[in-house]
Structures are given as C-alpha cells and as structure tokens.
Point group: C2
Chain length 404, copies 2
Amino acid sequence: MTLAFDIHHRAPNSRARVGVIHTAHGDIETPAFMPVATQASVKGLTAQDLYDLDAQLIICNTYHLALRPGAEQIAQLGGLHAFMNWQRPISTDSGGFQVFSLGAAIRDGVGKIADIFPDEARDDVEIKGDRTPLNKIDDDGVTFNSHLDGSIIRLTPERSIEIQHQLGADFILAFDECTSPLDTYEYTREALGRTHHWAERCLAQHAQTKREYQNLFGIVQGGAYRDLREESARVIGGLPFDGLAIGGSLGKSKNDMHAILEWTIPLLPDGKPRHLLGIGELEDIVNGVERGIDLFDCAAPTRWARNGALLVSRAIAQRDEIKNNRLTIANARYALDTAPIDSTCECLTCKNYSRAYLHHLHRAKELSYYRLATIHNLHFMLTFMRDVRAAIRENRWNNFRQGL
Amino acid sequence: MTLAFDIHHRAPNSRARVGVIHTAHGDIETPAFMPVATQASVKGLTAQDLYDLDAQLIICNTYHLALRPGAEQIAQLGGLHAFMNWQRPISTDSGGFQVFSLGAAIRDGVGKIADIFPDEARDDVEIKGDRTPLNKIDDDGVTFNSHLDGSIIRLTPERSIEIQHQLGADFILAFDECTSPLDTYEYTREALGRTHHWAERCLAQHAQTKREYQNLFGIVQGGAYRDLREESARVIGGLPFDGLAIGGSLGKSKNDMHAILEWTIPLLPDGKPRHLLGIGELEDIVNGVERGIDLFDCAAPTRWARNGALLVSRAIAQRDEIKNNRLTIANARYALDTAPIDSTCECLTCKNYSRAYLHHLHRAKELSYYRLATIHNLHFMLTFMRDVRAAIRENRWNNFRQGL
C-alpha cells in the first residue's frame, strides 16, 4: 500500500492546500497539527481525551520509547496503537532530533531540559551546568549515553527504522543528523552528506522490515544555508519516500524559516505530504501552510499549558489585554475571575471551569490543572487547524492569513 | 431546614443500616464513601470525572483552603460548589485534624508528609528531621504557622465555623482537638474538655452565620480511653448537632478501633448520620458499617493510586497472588501484561488500558498515570460501597461481611 494523499483544493496565488491523507488507521485532513506524545502519552491526557478533542494523529518519540519501555516490549504488546489504545494514525520521529538535543544542543547551550528529561516537571528550564553532550556521531550512526541510567544506546539508520517498525506508527521518519544553528557551513555540509547517505540506508531497511501499512518520510536538512537546503530538497525529494519532512535548524529568525521553506518546497514533489518538524506557533503554522506545509507537530502548546500559558482567541486577547494570545493563569488578576479561559471556546475546560479555579489549581500544583490546561490548549490548536482548512477550502485563505 | 436522614433497612443482629441523607445538593445513599478533595480537587480528577464515577459526595479541607485560595475568595466565587463546579454534596473538615497533623503528629513522628504538604508528590514519605510542631493549642483555639509561607493563622471554634460557612459545604464539622495516640490519659482528658467546650461554641456560631442548607456534625473524641469516649459520646450525642462524627486516635490496633465504636455508638442518637473520620480500608469500612457507621472518608485509596497500589477484587487477587488486594503496578511482572488491572472492573481505566501501559506510565511518571490510577481505585471504592448497601438491603450482610 502506498500513501494516498488527495489534494482537494488550493488557495489562489499561494502554495496553501487542503487535502486528505488516507492511512490504515483512518483519514487525516490536512493541514493538520499533531499533539506530541513523547513517551506514548500526551502529558496529562488519555487516548479518550484525544478522541474527545478529535485529534487526528499524534507523534511519539523513537529514542525515548526505545529506552523505556523498549521497542521489543511495545512490539510484543501489539505496537503503539494497541499499547496506548489509540486507533487513529501515529507518527514517530526517528531519534534524529535527539542527535541534536542530546548533543549539540547541550554543547551549545541552546536546548531545554524537557528535550532531555520528558518527565521533568519544570520543563521550560534551560540546560545549565555540564555541557558534555550525551551522544557521539560517526559516519555509521550515533552512540547515546542514556539520560536515564547512562547505559549505551546505538542508533544507526537501520536500527532507527527497525525500532520504528517495531513501534508500528503509520508515519515514520528517516534517521538524520539534526544540526545546531551554531554549526559552521562546513560541518553542516558534512552532516548533510551523512543525512543523505543515511536516507538511502533508511529506505533499504524500510523495504525489508516494515509493516505493510507504514510510510517512511525523508527529512530535508541543510541548516540555514541556501545551497545545502536546495541540494537536500533535490536529493531527498528525488528518493522514493512516502512523504517529506523539513527539519533541523531553521535559522535565527522567522524570516530565515520562511526563506528555507521557499528554497526547498518548490523543489519537492507536489503530490507527497510535507511535514514541518517541531513547529507549532500560530504565526508559524500560517506561514508554513502558505508555503505548502501539510503537517505540523510541536510540544510547545502542551508545554505552555503545563507552565500556565493558556491560548486565547484574538478577540479575548484584545478585550483582556493579553499579550501573545497567551493568558498567564498564575497572574493574580485571575484569582477572582469567574469567566472561563476564553468565553468563545467550547472545550471541556472552558465549558466547566473558571479562570479562578484554574488559577488556584495551578498555584496549588494540583494534578487536575495539567489535564484541564492541556485540553484547552490542544482544543485551541485543533480548532485553529479546522479554521485554516475551512479558510483555504472556502477561498478565504488570504484574508485569514492577513487577519491573524 | 434540618438534615433529613431516612433509615430504610437494618441488618438483623447488627447495627448496620442503609438509608438516604437528603441535602440541598441531592441525596446520599448510605453507607457512603467520600473521596478526599483537600484543596478543592480530588488529586488528578475533575468534577466531571467524579460525576462519571457517580461519587455521591466529597470532603474538602478547611485549613488548606483557608490558606489557599482563602475562604473569603471562595465565598466571593460563590462557595465551593460553584468554585469546583461540583453540584453534589460536599463536606468540609474543620481544621481539627490539622491540630493533630501539624502538631502532635510532627512532635511524635507519627504523621505523613502528605498531611502537611498536600501538593507534595512523594506523599507517602514519613516526616523526618525537625520535630517542632507547626501549631500551638490554648483553651481558646489553635495558632498555626502556615506550612506554605510561615504566616500565622489562628483557628478558633468560631473562626473554623465561619470559614466553613464561607466555603459553603453541606456538611461541616465542629472544630475539635484531635489528639495523638501517644498522648497520656491526663492530656487526652484535658483536650476532651476543650473539644466539648468548643462544640458548644461551634453550635452557637453555626446558628449565627450558617447558610440555610448547611449541617453541623459534632465530633466524639477521647482517644482510646473507654471512659473518655463514653463521656464524649454522651456529651456530643446530647447536643443539637445535625450529625455525628467519630474522630481522633482510634487506638493502636483494629481491635481498639472496634472497641471504640462499640463503646460510643450505642450512646449516640440513632436517627442522626454517623461519620467515621479518616477511615477507608475495606476491612475497616465493613467493621465500621457493622457497628453503625454511615459515612466514611479516607485519602488512602487515592494516595495508593498515585503511589502505584491499585485495588483488585478478591477473585483477581487470589488468581494473581496479589497481597492485600493491592496490585503493585511498578512490579516488573506487569511490563508485558495486556490484561486490565482487574478484568472484572468496569472503570474507564480497566475498559481501555492494560497493566503494561499503566506500568509504563507509572515508571515514566506520566501525568496521565495519576488520573487513570485514581479513577480505578475510586471506582473500586464506590462499587464496594454499592455492594455494601445491596448486601444490607437484601439481607445478605452477614454473609458479605464474613466473606470479605
């Protein structure tokens, strides 16, 4: 079975498009946002909560699941869908991001604790102290020192794909070398050579051990360097992947990111779905869709929720003078506020609980806070994606985009 | 409005009884178990979860809510029912237990961290280190040093009742001096004198500032001393309380507790509901019901859940060689176990998730674990109470009791 992707409508004078990806675990309307379930759970939520939110697909993490509980174990338990009791599509990243987050990100001090310790509660803390990377890269693969117990884990293209076959996600990603924004041109080019070589090894392994329904996405790398990005788009776009992802360092500014999308996307085959890895701010989603992206994943909306930043609509943000569309629930002004987070929101949290109650639960570090906040922020993101799709479908995209 | 309590049926040759307590927020079938929502949240659950579990009533904590968010604040927000969006009955304890848990329990090293820090994650840890009590008792009341910020909080009988009127629970408790099992006869007698004097002050305050629907329960104290318990039952039982609670030190063994119930309950008026404070092990519930108790509350089932101890039925415990009816989900034997916690259980957790998944979530400290485990243990407790009521109603109580 090859991945069927029907593009239903395109916005005029734009690369924005709406479509449907058909998978063995159901259809995905695109553009879509996938909540992050690093360790086979969207933090604080169950699969039932995700059905209630009408999430279409989620993304789990190969490196973290290979460490705990182990890929063999998940395979024995029937794969991730059975393990989590989530019967809709799943994506897994390849461990390639951990090549960066446990390596150069630590060395360069540009990562977050949450990238290393997904069960760390205070997960917006910057990495401090020891700057020794937890991995070592060679031309054949990457050797990690487990952040859990220091044991050695070796990931190669073959091993990453084999693990992803054991996990059983619908979309799996090629194992790549995700570089740092601080890497030089020379190093980024050298790493890109590895990524391209590894891409072919991933495809070879995929052909051998995949479950019939699984689809492999290639990853375009190349940092913020135009010639490397274009080369990567041509190489990865020319290989027989089922879908294409754009990963790695997207530069130092929004403009850099837009440029990278504009360099690469025209060089990719039009008919394959495109996934912009790790990006999920509203403005970035709109700019990504405009440039031809179909799939997004990002831990930020759920992390914001846990840290007390709750997304509100533009109207509420303006009325209540809330910056960045993010209400800071810890603020004392909400202690006696009987309104919901966002009175225009239809989520379980907004329909039932006040800002005052959430303010209290957050202050008291009550476990129920994390779920209620996460439900709200994900409902917001998924509603936003529905609005994006409707705007494209109804030829209102340009207005929608400019009105953000 | 006085508290209407209809006793519908009694077990032969037993004090066990089934009945219905009618409150302004709905009926409570007794005997009943109330989940503990110390800080206005059953840890990990929302009010919606409690409706789904068909919990009949919950109990919140006066001391902790007075500290955070504050009784005035909750009153301004419409009281606890509106604050939590829980429209069924609520009970509040009086702060009397904190006279013990923040005082003698620290001095005597017999408390748990969770009694002091309800938001402490590792909440089964014993109190270590500094043995300086956080409160000071005098004949007029108790002065606390806030465990949160060291600020001074003064509770007197009048203040405790006034706070409970602001919180707005259906059942409120008299402010008493809860003594330590290590207190001498002389001290326990002296404390009992205060508790009885305070009971009258609570009644006087209640008459002045209660919301019309609120009901005040008196508390029988007296430690494990027969004459003190009997005296207390006569004094408290003779005052115009709406219901009666049995609190304080219940001795050093199950037999001590049974004796205390046998001394006191025959001296209490038959027609008022009786609440055994802080008790909730299955065996203790059965022994309490047999001796005439109608209401139970206990943090243990929800705390066990968070700490990885999941309640299972007798049949499953026997089949799987599980001690104490409590499955230890951290045990490696569950890592590949695709069965639910208890295949006879109908809870959301057992209908959807395997022991293997819960084992993983627990190990990875995923937030979703706490909710799923808590839902299971509370479902177990509430189902058990339904079985207790059915056994009494259907004249099977003696068999049920002996079969436990």
